[in-house]
Each structure stands twice: as structure tokens, then as C-alpha cells.
């Protein structure tokens, strides 16, 4: 009896249950779309999904860690833009489309530095000034946008070397390069959050900063570091964006900001911090991608896909709510 209830509790509270629900959802969607459109389960469609998802995926990971730490990073897209600009300028200095691989590496390194600095500044203000993460990252977002628009006069920079196409459009053994990049980073992110002392500290800080400090962990340094790492992922996303679109413009990918938040919550991240895992969020991303590609294939308007995403999230929240569980109890007459 008790062994059974314990087992049930594990299923319900553990990540396994969460994953099962999401995987089930994914399976139903894939089945529905492949019935509705014969083109859904083709290499071409899967390939295009594999090229589209990683960018949103990287930004979602950049959003996820700050949320677990009890905050939010609203500046992800503009951090990515500024990092992309850094790369673009470096390439321009070395001849634009003729720039060598060395210039690309230098530009990439500079982009990463810029991303990390932007993140670390946010983290430091949040940790040491005690300002609310929403306000701090919103301020950073507006600052970066204004700075970027001022420097580019609102235009875009394009014309990058040919080899950058490999990063954005290439495949290795049929698998899109961006997808490989995303898989590697997502795995690293998972290890960082779940297996390192720093990741442990992120979860603890997210559930109670004061108690974490009382226990002897450096919660403030944890915050600075996690925002800096979030900035690092933004930089990688920015570089990927430049490679995919062969141009950089401030405001590129702006619409993705709120979708990343949506993907995090769909993936079961606690909006108040302290709980959440990488894997369910990735399933959530795939679900969103399947929805959008599938609707596209059956001829629905792209804007409708966005609307469906929103409805879908509301449905998931309702399904997860305690009230629904109470309702279920009522039906099964389990007085408690």
C-alpha cells in the first residue's frame, strides 16, 4: 500500500511524469499532422524544422537558467543582436565577404565577450543592488536596442563570407549543423544545471536567496555567473542568426522573446524559480515547432500558428492546475 503510494508520488512529482505528458502530447500532434498532410513526415519537412528550431532553442535555454534562478532575462534577443553586430563589424573590418576564418574566430570571440559582459552587468545589478530582474533586464533590453539602432542607423549589415553558410545551412550526415550545435549546447546546459555545484546553487538561489546564503553558498556570485552564461548563449544565438540570415539587423528575432518564455513554462519551469529541467523544455520546443510547421503544411496562415501556440499554452496550464485535479477527485469520489 505505502510502496504503491510512494511509487505514485514519484511518478506524479518526478520529471518522468512531466516528460511522459509532454511526449504523449508530441506523439498525438505528430500523428495528427502526418494524417492531415502526407508531407509532414518527409525528410524535407523534418530538415526544415531542424534548421528553424535551434535558434529559438538557444534563446530559450538563455531564458531558462535565469528563470530557475528566480528571475528573467528579457534582454536575450537584443543581446543576441548586439553580439551579431560585433561579429559583423569584425568581419567588415577584414573585408566583409572576403574575410578569412581568423576574422570569423576573432569576431565570434568578441561577440561572446560582449554577450557575457551584458549578462554579467545584469546579474551584478540584480544580485548586489537587489533590483527586480524584470526591471533590470528590461532596462538592459532597451539600452541594447537603442545602442544597436544608433550604431546601425536602423539598417542592416550583410554580405558575410561563404563559409558561414555551413554554420547556418550545412548538414553533417543529413543532420542540420545548427541542430547539432543546439544538441551539444543543450546537453552542456543540462549538465551545468543538474550536475555542477554552480547549477545546484542556481536552483537553491531561485527558491530562497537568503536561506541559500545562510547555508554558506555564494548566492550573489551565482546570479552574476548565471546571467553571464545566459549572455554567452545569446552570443552564440546571435552568431547563428548572422549565419542563417546572412545579415544582422537590430530587432531580428524580436518576436521570439515571449515565445521563449512560453516554451519554458510549457516545459514545466516554475515561474517563481527553483524548479525546472532542460529536457522537458526541449520537448516543449519540439511541440511548438511541430505545431507551427504542421499548421503551415496543411495550409494554415502563419499568424494562426502563433494564435494556436497561445491557446495551447492556456490549455496546458488548465490541465496542470490543482483545480482540475480537485475536479477529478470529485468525479472519482475520493474524499480527502
Amino acid at each position: 500500500m505505502t510502496a504503491l503510494t510512494k511509487h505514485m508520488a514519484r511518478l506524479k512529482s518526478g520529471p518522468a511524469g512531466e516528460n511522459t505528458g509532454l511526449l504523449l502530447m508530441l506523439a498525438v500532434l505528430v500523428m495528427a499532422f502526418s494524417l492531415a498532410s502526407p508531407r509532414f513526415l518527409t525528410g524535407a519537412n523534418l530538415g526544415s524544422m531542424g534548421f528553424q528550431m535551434p535558434l529559438l532553442g538557444l534563446l530559450t535555454l538563455a531564458m531558462l537558467a535565469p528563470i530557475i534562478s528566480g528571475g528573467l532575462n528579457l534582454a536575450i534577443v537584443y543581446t543576441a543582436n548586439i553580439c551579431g553586430l560585433t561579429l559583423a563589424w569584425t568581419l567588415m573590418q577584414f573585408g566583409g565577404a572576403e574575410a578569412g576564418i581568423g576574422a570569423f574566430l576573432l569576431g565570434g570571440a568578441l561577440a561572446v565577450i560582449v554577450g557575457v559582459i551584458a549578462g554579467a552587468i545584469m546579474g551584478a545589478v540584480i544580485a548586489y543592488v537587489g533590483a527586480h530582474p524584470i526591471l533590470v533586464s528590461l532596462a538592459m533590453m532597451i539600452f541594447l536596442r537603442g545602442l544597436g539602432e544608433f550604431l546601425t542607423r536602423g539598417g542592416d549589415i550583410s554580405g558575410f563570407p561563404e563559409y558561414m553558410r555551413v554554420l547556418g545551412h550545412g548538414t553533417v550526415a543529413g543532420v542540420p549543423v545548427p541542430l547539432i550545435l543546439f544538441a551539444v549546447i543543450a546537453f552542456g546546459w543540462h549538465v551545468l544545471l543538474r550536475r555542477t555545484p554552480h547549477g545546484f546553487s542556481v536552483y537553491m538561489t531561485g527558491s530562497n536567496l537568503k536561506a541559500t546564503e545562510y547555508a554558506g553558498l555564494n548566492a550573489k556570485r551565482t546570479l552574476v555567473l548565471i546571467y553571464a552564461l545566459s549572455g554567452l548563449l545569446c552570443a552564440i544565438a546571435g552568431i547563428l542568426m548572422a549565419a542563417r540570415f546572412n545579415s544582422v539587423r537590430v530587432g531580428h528575432g524580436e518576436a521570439m522573446l515571449l515565445i521563449t518564455v512560453l516554451a519554458c513554462f510549457l516545459g514545466g519551469i516554475d515561474p517563481f524559480g527553483g524548479h525546472g529541467r532542460v529536457f522537458p523544455v526541449i520537448i516543449a520546443l519540439v511541440i511548438l515547432q511541430v505545431l507551427s510547421s504542421g499548421l503551415n503544411l496543411i495550409g494554415a496562415n502563419q499568424h494562426l500558428a502563433t494564435a494556436v501556440w497561445g491557446l495551447f499554452l492556456i490549455a496546458v496550464m488548465v490541465l496542470r492546475s490543482d483545480q482540475l485535479r480537485l475536479l477529478g477527485k470529485l468525479f472519482f469520489r475520493k474524499d480527502n
Binding site: M1, T5, K6, A9, R10, S13, G14, V191, R195, T196, P197, F200, S201, Y203, M204, S207, N208, K210, A211, T212, E213, Y214, A215, G216, L217, N218, D270, G274, H275, D335, N336
Partner: protein, 501 residues
């Protein structure tokens, strides 16, 4: 409202049973409260006290009951709303008040919320709230937001709110758990006043001294069964503890002399402006030093300075003979300090996180492999070791810590600190919200640690606690250590008199 005819009983329950799943929470329990009586409901955590209250207030429906009678009227099926209308109120430990609303709004809350929206008349509301507070003999700023008040005053607001609903039977769940002695005394005065006015009060408390002081009769429940109903006249704490737990709890002075033990910690002339001054304190290895006194005496502030959470203005500290000048909690912990905070809910533990994570948080470094990753095996081993060592009753290590009882939570806090192999352990009010049986368990652990050579500073409001578990007692008042006592040469009443004089 016209005066109701005086009933003999405010509440009568006969043979009430309630089960949850396979657990019999209440097994044919009788419970009677006379009108105007102060009655204590005693028992360990999980003995069925809360279930009993919830049956009376209509939250739970019993499986079987021979009789449920409120104020002389048999009630068959009662809903929480009906219970409130009949004059039953419960003041839960968390008070269920609204932190951002004013005192007046909190008191008049149930009056404000009707079925239909209507305009709020603040003038009238304030007048009524003032009237109720007057009845309690309390003065308070009616416009102050509730969160700006200390817990003791919030408690009074909760009582006032119950009175506003014409409560004639009030259940108080652990009302004094977070109060100091003088605040408790004031609360007990209010309880007596209400009782004199004919309001019956059922008091649930782990503090046996208080139970015996305030209640006329006590009903003891153990594992869902009624143990008995006893008059408090002639009852002793030891006897009551025995009835509650089913075994005798030793509470004797256990002070020892440690002439040869080396000094573990020493403070000389330690001062911090506005908090404490000129503190001289020596703790030997293996010694338990009790620190007691009224709240505001600077005890917790001193502990914070010892833990590096605040800086002293002047004075020196040494730890194991070396100069000790911690700049942060981290630095203090690295040098062998450990601090069990008085605020277990928000500082001692991370309530949302698992039992396992709460146990290992202080010793992450011990779990890290050469690759910089946390070893899951080492983590599981460490958690299993400490859960066994401390005798913590848990379901699964990955369950949230908030699922444990207060006593078990406190054992996890102890485990977390002992895992760091500290040299000095500061226990700040370690038994707040912990029941009698679990208290004994915690002090058994503390005693064993002292025997093994750990230096311990035991900070407590409860005089009996320091009397029974400390080797020496320091009395702190107004930021100074005013006197040192040997528990063997003073009695509890004598010490109480000096502290509360």
C-alpha cells in the same frame, strides 16, 4: 444580538472516526468543551489534533460519529460557513491574514466580503475594529498594514477577527510558537479575558508549561485515539509529556563540569552599536552553553556576528585559539561554524527543495568529483547516512522538505550542519514548532554531539530548555550578559523570576 441561554457545553463530540486512505486519523474519539472553558488539546504531531479541529469546523466529514453537537444543537452535516456562523473560529498557525491590508481591514474582513459587492464604509469599519480591540484591551494603529506588525500583534488581529464574527468557540493552533515569553503572557491574558466573557477556547500547543498554566482541562490524543481527559490541577509537565508520547521523557538538569576541556570559542568585549555591548563569552569543546533572555536582548544579533553575517564594532573573537574575524557566513562556515537559525521556514531550509538537496547544500564540495560535477552516488550515500544518523522519518529523499513535520525538518537542518563537521554549533531556538517527542529526540542528538566534543551555544526563550540541556546558563538583557548561572544551583522558577523581573 440577544444573549443566548447559557449552554453547558460549547462542543460535544462522541465516538468520532475519520480515516485517510489506510490511516485511521481519528478512532472513536470523544471530545467535549464546556462553554467559557479554556481547554487544551494535546498530542504529538500527526496524532489527529488537526483532523479533530477540521471535523468540528466542517472541513472534513467524519466516517462515523455518534454525536456532534455545537452549543447544545446537534449538527449532522456542517459546512465551514455554517460553522463560522454558529460561532466557531479557528486561528491557524499561519493566521490566514492579509499582509498588505490594514489592521482594520483584516479585523473586519468577513464583514466586508458579502455575497454581493457593496460599498465599503471605512469609518464604520474602523469604529467596529476599534471596539473589538477595546474588548481585548489592546491598542493598535488601525491603519497600519498588517505586515508591519510583529507576529504577536498579528495574532491579536486574528483573534479580533474571530470575535468580530461573534465567535463563541475559538480554536488556537500553536498560537505561541513564535512568541516570546512576555508576548505569550500577554496572549494568555487575552485568552483568560475571553474565557471570562464566556468564549470557549481550545488551545493547541507544544509548550507544556503554558498548557498547564492556562487550561482548566486537557484532552490528550495519541495516534488517533483518545488517551483521556485530565484536569490540569495537579498535572505535571513530565506526566503530560508521558501521556502524549506514551513513554517517560527525562527532563532533568544535565549540567556537567568540563575543567580540562580546551576553549573552543571566546569573545572578548564584543560590541555592536544598538544591539549588544561588551560581550565576554567562552565556550569549551564539548560544552553546551545556554543563552537566554527576553527578545530584543541581542541574542540572535550576537549569533549573527559570530556567524559573520554582521560585523562587530569592537572586540575580538577567537576560534580554537586562533583569531577569528569572519566576513561572511561562508567564511564562518569554512572555519567550522554552524548556525541553526530560529527562522526555519524562511532561513533555515529551502522549503521548495527536496530533503536531499537541503541536506547536502552545505557540503557541495565534498560531493564534487575531479571533473567538477556532483556525484549522484556520493550525494545519495551522504543523504542516506544522515537520515539514518538523525533518525529522520521521511518518504523519499527527493520529496520536498515542506512535507516533513517540524521536528523532522529540524533534524534535517542539524544534519546539514553536522555534515560540515563544525567545531561550534549555534542553535537558535531549535525547538520552535517542534513537538514534545521530537524535542526529546533533538536534545538527545545535541547531548551526543556535546559528548563527542562539539562546542554548542544553545539560544532559547524557554527557561526549562536551557535549564535541562545546558552546562552553564548566560542571562542576556539589554544587549549585555548580566549573569551566569549554574543550572545545578538554581531552580526554574528562580531563573524565570530573574529573567522576567
Amino acid at each position: 444580538m440577544t444573549t443566548a441561554p447559557a449552554e453547558r457545553f460549547a462542543l460535544r463530540l462522541h465516538k468520532v472516526s475519520k480515516a485517510f486512505g489506510g490511516v485511521q486519523a481519528l478512532n472513536a474519539v470523544d471530545f467535549e468543551v464546556r462553554a467559557g472553558e479554556v481547554h487544551c488539546l494535546a498530542g504529538e504531531n500527526g496524532c489527529g489534533k488537526s483532523t479533530l479541529i477540521k471535523v468540528v469546523t466542517g472541513v472534513h466529514r467524519p466516517e462515523s460519529a455518534d454525536l456532534i453537537e455545537l452549543f447544545g444543537q446537534p449538527v449532522d452535516r456542517i459546512t465551514p460557513v455554517q460553522a463560522r456562523e454558529m460561532g466557531v473560529s479557528v486561528i491557524w498557525q499561519d493566521l490566514a491574514l492579509f499582509p498588505h491590508m490594514s489592521v482594520a481591514e483584516n479585523i473586519a474582513f468577513d464583514d466586508l466580503v458579502g455575497l454581493r459587492p457593496r460599498s465599503v464604509r471605512y469609518g464604520q469599519m474602523k469604529a467596529r475594529a476599534a471596539e473589538v480591540l477595546d474588548r481585548l484591551g489592546v491598542r493598535m494603529d488601525l491603519a497600519a498594514p498588517l505586515h508591519s506588525l510583529p507576529i504577536a500583534q498579528r495574532q491579536v488581529v486574528a483573534i479580533a477577527r474571530a470575535l468580530m464574527n461573534d465567535a463563541r468557540l475559538i480554536f488556537m493552533d500553536e498560537p505561541t510558537a513564535s512568541l516570546t515569553q512576555s508576548e505569550t503572557d500577554r496572549l494568555l491574558d487575552i485568552v483568560r479575558k475571553l474565557s471570562a466573557e464566556g468564549v470557549a477556547i481550545v488551545f493547541v500547543s507544544h509548550r507544556l508549561a503554558e498548557v498547564l498554566e492556562i487550561a482548566e482541562r486537557v484532552t490528550v490524543v495519541r495516534d488517533g485515539n483518545l488517551v483521556g481527559v485530565y484536569p490540569t490541577q495537579g498535572m505535571t509537565q513530565a506526566r503530560l509529556g508521558e501521556l502524549m508520547t506514551g513513554h517517560l521523557i527525562e527532563n532533568q538538569v544535565s549540567a556537567r563540569d568540563l575543567p580540562d576541556a580546551p576553549v573552543a570559542f571566546q569573545a572578548k568585549g564584543l560590541s555592536r552599536h544598538g544591539e549588544f555591548s561588551d560581550i565576554n563569552l567562552t565556550i569549551k569543546a564539548g560544552e553546551v552553553v545556554g543563552l537566554t533572555g527576553l527578545i530584543g536582548a541581542g541574542r540572535t544579533e550576537l549569533a549573527h556576528v559570530m556567524m559573520g553575517m554582521r560585523r562587530a564594532d569592537s572586540g575580538q573573537m577567537t576560534l580554537n585559539g586562533a583569531t577569528y574575524r569572519p566576513t561572511s557566513a561562508r567564511a564562518a562556515i569554512e572555519q567550522g561554524m554552524a548556525y541553526v537559525s530560529e527562522d526555519r521556514l524562511s532561513l533555515g531550509l529551502l522549503q521548495k527543495q527536496s530533503i536531499a538537496d537541503n541536506t547536502v547544500i552545505s557540503v557541495l564540495r565534498k560531493l564534487t568529483t575531479a571533473a567538477g560535477l556532483i556525484s549522484e552516488t556520493r550525494k545519495a550515500d551522504l543523504v542516506a547516512h544522515w537520515i539514518k544518523q538523525m533518525g529522520v522519518k521521511i518518504g523519499l529523499p527527493q520529496d520536498a522538505i515542506s512535507t516533513l513535520s517540524g521536528g523532522n525538518q529540524q533534524k534535517v537542518v542539524l544534519a546539514k550542519w553536522l555534515a560540515t563537521a563544525p567545531r561550534l554549533l549555534i542553535l537558535d531556538s531549535p525547538t520552535v514548532g517542534v513537538d514534545v517527542g521530537a524535542r526529546a529526540g533533538i536534545f538527545r542528538i545535541v547531548r551526543q554531539l556535546a559528548e563527542d566534543g562539539l562546542a554548542i551555544l544553545l539560544i532559547s526563550d524557554e527557561v526549562t530548555e536551557v535549564m535541562h540541556h545546558a552546562d552553564r546558563i548566560m542571562h542576556m538583557a539589554d544587549g549585555r550578559i548580566v549573569q551566569e548561572y549554574d543550572p545545578r544551583r538554581i531552580t526554574v522558577p528562580q531563573l524565570e523570576e530573574r529573567i522576567y523581573a
